[in-house]
Amino acid sequence: MKYAYTGKAARESLAEAGIELDPSAPIVLVERGAPIPENKIAVVFDESLIGELCRFLQSHSKSETPLSSDFIACRDEERIILVKAADIEFFSVDGDAVFCNIRSGRTLEVKKKLYELEQILFDRGFFRVSKSAIVNIVEINDISPWFGGRLLLRLKNGRDEIEVSRKYVTDFKEYLGV
């Protein structure tokens, strides 16, 4: 669920809590003292209660119907197509855009954030290996050590190699039970 926001101080806190902000959203979060927009549902809050608000919005988003992890909606030029999660090799980030790389070798844009995909697809065997990549564990061919305590994952497609950054190496090893 996305929310519009009016105010100054709480924007960062909302972003950190994973609350998606969209100026066109029908529900607007209004910091006390900021103007209340017309024709919208306004939630007025005091800056000191930002933590409570974030928790409420997070619990609300969790109580919504969970997003399906079987298929991921991807943009294919002007169309939106559903890609089976099992056909996805990995997700990568380029600038602000998230892309999913599928078995056929095509790269499609995904409208979700990487942290959302991480949560949705964790139980499907997708694991975050760096700030900019989530990989389908089943699609990894082998792992080799790399410089600076990092790891290199070679995919079964023979084309792609994905780096496990230092920050994620410990979690990755733990996930594999090593």
Binding site: R124, V138, S144, F147, G148, T170
Partner: protein
């Protein structure tokens, strides 16, 4: 079940393997050269320091060569092991000669033990990669079983 990871401080984990290689190399360098230095009655500290530094260079170079070759040559470890063998061989012989050692028997013994310890350490480091890939296979089987059920 997904859980938010906290990413604890990663500095020790990141440098752990490098430290193992360097510390191991330094110990091997000292252990291999010490009997010869004592036998030759040369000043202990400069000779030992030279030997340890040489071993550090050999160890770092061998580890880097193994990592690169293992990646380039389709994850076959043989090329990496061969590279490490020849780097230790060349490094020990060259290091001994540059250090003023002229006795072939001394050079042979130092090279022999450097190879034995160095290759053992290389095998130990490679075992970690094997365990990691075994863990990957287990996880993949587990995920396939779960998706099939």
């Amino acid at each position: 079940m997904y859980r938010q990871r906290q990413h604890p401080a990663t500095f020790p984990a990141a440098v752990q393997e490098t430290l193992i290689v360097l510390a191991g190399s330094a110990i091997i360098g000292a252990a291999v050269a010490l009997p010869v230095i004592i036998g030759s009655k040369a000043p202990l500290l400069p000779a030992l320091t030279r030997s340890v530094l040489t071993a550090l260079v050999i160890g770092a170079f061998a580890a880097a060569a193994f990592t690169v070759l293992y990646r380039i040559i389709a994850r076959k470890p043989l090329s990496g092991f061969l590279a490490v063998f020849f780097i230790i061989l060349a490094g020990t012989v060259l290091g001994s000669l540059l250090g003023g050692e002229r006795m072939p028997s001394h050079i042979f013994l130092m090279t022999f033990f450097a190879e034995a310890f160095g290759m053992a350490m290389c095998a130990y480091m490679f075992r970690k990669t094997v365990l990691l890939n075994n863990g990957l296979s287990r996880k993949q089987r587990q995920l396939k079983e779960n998706s099939g059920s």
